[in-house]
Symmetry: C2
Subunit: 129 residues, 2 copies
C-alpha cells in the first residue's frame, strides 16, 4: 500500500506556511520531495520534517539548527563516529531546551507580577469613562 502523499499547497494550507517557504526549505536542503514530472510530491516523512522545522522555529531555532534537528530524526547513523557525534548533538539540544524552559518559567513569573501591577493600577482608577 502506497503511503499518502501531499501536494505543496496541501502542506502549505495544513501547516500554515506559504508555498514559497516550503520551496525555500527545499533549496536549503531541508526537504527532499520526489517529483512527478516537475511537480513536487511530499511523503508523510517530508511532512514530519516540515513540522520539525516549524516547531523549531517557534522556539527560536535558526534554520541551520532545525536542519540538525531533522538529521537527528533521520536514521542516517551508520558508522560509529557519526553516531557518537549524533549523541553529542542530542545532548547539546537538551541543554538548550533546558535553558529555554528556565527562560520561559522566568518570563511567566514576570508576566505574573506585570499582571498584578496592572490590576492594582486599575483598582486605583475609580471608574473612568
Amino acid at each position: 500500500m502506497a503511503a499518502k502523499t501531499y501536494s505543496i499547497s496541501e502542506l502549505a494550507r495544513e501547516l500554515d506556511v506559504t508555498t514559497r517557504t516550503i520551496r525555500f526549505y527545499e533549496e536549503q536542503g531541508m526537504l527532499t520531495p520526489t517529483r512527478r514530472g516537475q511537480e513536487r510530491i511530499y511523503t508523510p516523512r517530508d511532512r514530519v520534517a516540515l513540522k520539525l522545522i516549524l516547531r523549531g522555529k517557534r522556539i527560536g531555532f535558526s534554520l541551520a539548527e532545525c536542519k540538525t534537528l531533522i538529521e537527528l530524526y533521520d536514521p542516517q547513523g551508520d558508522n560509529r563516529n557519526q553516531l557518537t557525534l549524533m549523541l553529542g548533538k542530542i545532548a547539546e539540544r537538551r541543554l538548550q531546551l533546558e535553558q529555554q524552559l528556565l527562560d520561559i518559567q522566568q518570563m511567566q513569573l514576570e508576566l505574573d507580577t506585570a499582571e498584578e501591577r496592572c490590576r492594582a493600577a486599575l483598582q486605583q482608577i475609580p471608574e473612568a469613562g
Copy 2:
C-alpha cells in the same frame, strides 16, 4: 545612596554581548541610558531591560516582541485603556509561552527516541576501530 551604574563594556562583558549590540538596542528604543557627556551610563534598570531582551531572544522572540516585554515590565500604565491593553498583551504572551512549552516537551520526546535509536545502532556495531 546612588544605585550602582554600569559602563557599556561592563554590561557587554557580563551579559556576553557586544557593545555594538547594546547601542543597537538603544537605537531601537529598547534601552535609554543616561549620559555623562557622551558616555552612556547604565542603571540596574537598564541592565534588567537588557536581560529581558536577551532572555526573549533565547526563546525566539523578535526584538519588536522583546520591546513589548520591556513595556510589560515598565510601570507605564496610567490610564484605563492602556492597562486593559496591557492585560491583553500579557495574556497573548502567556499563550505563546505555553505553545513553546509544548514545543519543547515534544522536542525532548523526539530527542529521547533519537538517542535510543543511536544507542541501539551503536550496539549493532561489534567493536569498530
